[in-house]
């Protein structure tokens, strides 16, 4: 089908996308790299000088940096754990015959479509608020003292909010994968004497393995960049307790105006994301060969 | 007028040669069947004639005019695809009218032609439906209708019946043959089913790995296969092939005898064997017989012939119907 004419035409048609994305990727990244080796603070813009690896070392020795890495990991792993396990359970549940299946599905997927600032605000003021929140009301009803979530467990609160938002995504993906499992395979296993738990472990879980991998990888890409939820609730505090790498870079750039430092942090964030991306590409690439 | 001529047609995909060389003459109004096993190149050859693939060598002429460089639209051919390839977003009317619309025909003229075609194919009641609402057989008729309205020089059919169930296949075979008589147009038909080939064709082209093994009328191919491949491909159940000592005694490297050309007896014959599986079809019985020192032979018997598994039987090939092949597999 592809003659020489078609091939030149095809190249023209792809050009805008490719060129734009190329520029989008290379130019800013190159600039970040450049800035990371500079002493540049927006408060004293005239004072620019070459800094070598100073920014990286500074970042590396900043206790906030390690805290932010730890927090980033905590958020990613915490949300992954909740959403993947919760997603599998919900998917199994929704795969059953239920009255009003359609509505149940709609209710469960809704959190994913709520914009992060709204989600954060709602959780902060109406659910987790120690004075007026639903959790507080429940605690008082049970005779316990209400928890001040964002003061006592800031990171956990963020994890809960983000997990709430991403649980529908995992559920939907896993449910789709689950429903592609051939009914007859499960029946064959039943004939072979496998109980419900065995069927889950030996038939269903392996089938879901690919979807689980995709969920984990895609969520990780987005979870590394959690931002708005932190901005709206804790602003990274108390101290750096709920600051992740993305937030730290933002703070360094736009609150401390330390361009050089923020750029170094940005480069580190890119490296981290690239490692995850490598694995994701392999998973997706395998699908392309079908 | 729909005569087609293929000269030295050669097709390769990159480094893989799919069709080494094909020379073929198709006369006007002939029903030609390309038949062969999967991957033999019959569909590729059809697509080369249609212009959907470019030839890497050779020429194709239609009515004496060289169309090798012409795109499909300008060759004046119509094609019925294996999957029917109906436009899902158009009604049956729209599907059939499409080629005429592309040709810039006037609306009222289009209407007449579409309704004529619909009448011939019994689709008049379905004109406002969409392909998704039709059965397999109906969809196929729409595909044929779309091909008819163009009044092409030749029709190309790419395994049109393989997606239908057995009963429907039988009746559609008849319909297509009748269509051929009615329209008096050349038809080139690709199939892997040799029964379709035998029943519908004026001329059969047997293909194997891109090579034309033999061209001839159905009966010619049946009676005088020129090589082992054609002999084994045409005829169902397959011709029996015997080699070794048995063949040498009868004067060839390989001997071929069709199941229906064996005389069976419970008392005497050239070969003695034991009945293995017996397939009773009612009208015929096919016996799979193990003849010691000769091999496995399938024989056709009259439906009443009551032999069963394990019993002894004697076979004699009908001398006139013996096929002899030399070392290279060619008929002697």
């Amino acid at each position: 089908m592809a003659t020489r004419q078609t091939r030149t035409l095809a190249r023209f048609m792809m050009a805008p996308s490719v060129v734009l994305l190329l520029i989008w990727m290379i130019v800013p990244l190159a600039m970040t790299l450049w800035f990371s080796f500079q002493n540049y603070n927006l408060l004293m813009p005239a004072n620019r000088s070459f800094a070598g690896f100073f920014n990286y070392i500074y970042f590396y020795t900043d206790p906030a940096f390690f805290q932010s890495i730890a927090n980033t990991l905590a958020i990613v792993l915490g949300v992954l754990a909740i959403t993947v396990i919760g997603g599998i359970l919900l998917a199994l549940l929704l795969d059953q015959p239920i009255f009003g299946q359609g509505i149940v599905r709609i209710l469960i997927i809704s959190p994913f479509f709520v914009m992060p600032p709204v989600a954060a605000l709602v959780w902060k003021n109406m659910i987790m608020h120690p004075g007026y929140g639903v959790f507080a009301d429940i605690s008082r009803f049970l005779g316990l003292r209400p928890i001040d979530w964002f003061a006592q467990y800031p990171l956990l609160s963020i994890i809960i909010i983000v997990a709430w938002q991403w649980l529908p995504f995992a559920t939907l993906i896993l449910l789709t994968a689950l429903q592609s499992l051939d009914e007859e395979q499960k029946e064959a296993a039943e004939m072979d004497g496998a109980g419900a738990v065995s069927r889950f472990i030996y038939i269903i879980l392996p089938h879901l393995a690919r979807a689980i991998t995709v969920v984990i990888l895609i969520e990780t890409i987005f979870l590394l960049a959690v931002y708005a939820e932190i901005l709206v609730t804790t602003n990274g505090g108390p101290g750096y307790a709920s600051t992740n790498l993305a937030f730290l870079v933002y703070r360094t750039a736009l609150l401390s105006y330390d361009i050089g430092g923020a750029s170094a942090g940005g480069v580190i964030a890119v490296v981290l994301a690239n490692i995850v991306a490598l694995f994701l590409m392999r998973a997706v690439g395998k699908n392309l060969d079908r | 007028m729909g005569s087609i001529s293929l000269q030295k047609v050669h097709k390769a995909f990159g480094n893989t040669v799919v069709i080494p060389e094909v020379n073929l003459e198709i006369a006007d109004n002939e029903f030609v069947v390309f038949v062969g096993p999967s991957g033999c190149g019959k569909s590729t050859l059809l697509r080369l004639i249609a212009g959907l693939e470019d030839m890497t060598g050779g020429t194709i002429s239609i009515d004496g005019k060289d169309v090798t460089r012409e795109p499909p639209a300008r060759r004046g051919l119509s094609m019925v695809f294996q999957s029917y390839a109906l436009y899902p977003h158009m009604t049956v009317y729209g599907n059939i009218a499409f080629p005429l619309k592309m040709a810039g025909m006037e609306k009222s003229a289009i209407d007449t032609k579409v309704r004529d075609a619909a009448r011939i194919l019994n689709l008049t009641d379905y004109l406002e439906r969409r392909p998704g609402q039709l059965s397999g057989g109906q969809r196929q008729r729409v595909a044929i209708g779309r091909a008819i309205v163009r009044e092409p020089k030749a029709f190309l059919f790419d395994e049109p019946l393989s997606n239908l169930d057995a009963a429907l296949r039988g009746s559609m075979r008849l319909e297509i043959s009748e269509l051929h008589h009615k329209l008096q147009t050349t038809m080139i038909y690709v199939t892997h089913d040799q029964i379709e080939a035998m029943t519908m064709a004026d001329k059969i082209v047997v293909l194997n790995a891109g090579n034309v093994e033999q061209v001839g009328s159905p009966l010619e191919l049946y009676r005088n296969p020129q090589n082992l491949f054609v002999a084994g491909f045409i005829g169902s159940p397959r011709m029996n092939f015997l080699q070794g000592e048995t063949a040498r005694k009868l004067g060839a490297a390989t001997i071929g005898i069709r199941p229906e050309h064996l005389e069976l007896s419970t008392s005497e014959g050239l070969w003695k064997g034991e009945v293995g599986v017996a397939e009773h079809l009612g009208s015929d019985t096919f016996l799979h017989i193990d003849v010691a020192g000769v091999g496995q032979i399938t024989a056709r018997a009259d439906g009443e012939f009551a032999l069963r598994h394990g019993e002894t039987v004697y076979l004699s090939p009908v001398e006139k119907q013996l096929h002899r092949f030399n070392d290279e597999g060619r008929a002697i």
Partner: protein, 274 residues
């Protein structure tokens, strides 16, 4: 389950499912309920029955400074999606119908650009926008969102285009259609559902984007994300109004989301799960 399940079992499972669904949906539900309360009621403690007053909505709508962000959200979501489609459709078309050995690599590379963390380019982009006057403009924001979502648009369209059976296009060619007619009469109608799905999903993603829309805007171009985010330290006196504003902010996309479950799966897993 292909087999008939006992209705007792179905009832139990239904109850469990509905309870879980209610719990998950609760925050959203509570927001809507609160938006229908008076401000006093909103503070007074948890109650699921609002007084059903629409005064909050009226007040929010009357405030011009709500409509501005709303309009901004609409413009940048639809704008970036349409521009993205215009750029992506030819690319996806070319890759789906004239694939080369490089096609797969190019697609994977496009995918990788989506994975670049925003903070990695925050600094240069912020400075660039500041110096070119694009900061706090709808144009600047639209450009960024177009680029950020372009990979997803291309990918989704690519997977939809690939599903169009090649034979139907060949039939059109046999039927005498030129390339232009083939595209207009056959390809485009068959591609429309895929394009619509991509459009839907992308509007949702652009509407909810919460990094660039907050960091690159101020009073002028701030869309709803930034607007709502600015209330992160509420004075507690206008929760009902805030709930109304929140409900209005999420309602369009929430409803669109209910209709785009399949698109979500295809779009965000880059076709890896279908």
């Amino acid at each position: 389950m292909a087999r008939a399940v006992s209705s007792r079992r179905k009832t139990i499972v239904t109850i469990v499912a509905w309870v879980i669904a209610f719990v998950i949906f609760f925050p959203i539900l509570y927001t809507v309920i609160t938006s229908l309360k008076t401000e006093r009621e909103a503070i007074d403690g948890i109650s699921l029955i609002p007084s059903g007053t629409f005064e909050n909505y009226v007040e929010v709508q009357a405030q011009r400074d709500y409509w501005k962000p709303f309009t901004n959200s609409v413009i940048i979501s639809i704008g970036s999606t349409l521009i993205g489609l215009v750029i992506a459709i030819p690319a996806a078309w070319a890759m789906a119908f004239s694939p080369t050995k490089r096609t797969k690599d190019i697609l994977m590379w496009m995918l990788s650009t989506k994975m670049m963390p925003a903070v990695g380019v925050l600094v240069p982009l912020y400075l660039l926008f500041r110096d070119t006057g694009l900061l706090d403009t709808r144009l600047g924001l639209t450009i960024v969102l177009t680029l950020v979502n372009l990979p997803i648009i291309v990918w989704m369209l690519y997977t939809y285009f690939r599903e169009i059976p090649g034979e139907i296009l060949e039939a059109a060619r046999m039927d005498g259609a030129s390339l232009m007619k083939e595209i207009v009469y056959v390809l485009t109608p068959m591609a429309v559902p895929g394009i619509a799905s991509t459009l839907l999903l992308n509007i949702i993603l652009a509407w909810n984007e919460s990094f660039w829309t907050i960091r690159l805007t101020a009073a002028n171009a701030a869309p709803l994300t930034a607007f709502i985010a600015s209330f992160s330290s509420p004075l507690g006196l206008f929760w009902a109004k805030l709930s109304a504003a929140s409900t209005l902010a999420i309602a369009p996309v929430l409803i669109m989301g209910w209709f785009s479950q399949k698109q979500l799966v295809r779009g965000l897993t880059f076709g890896a799960v279908k």
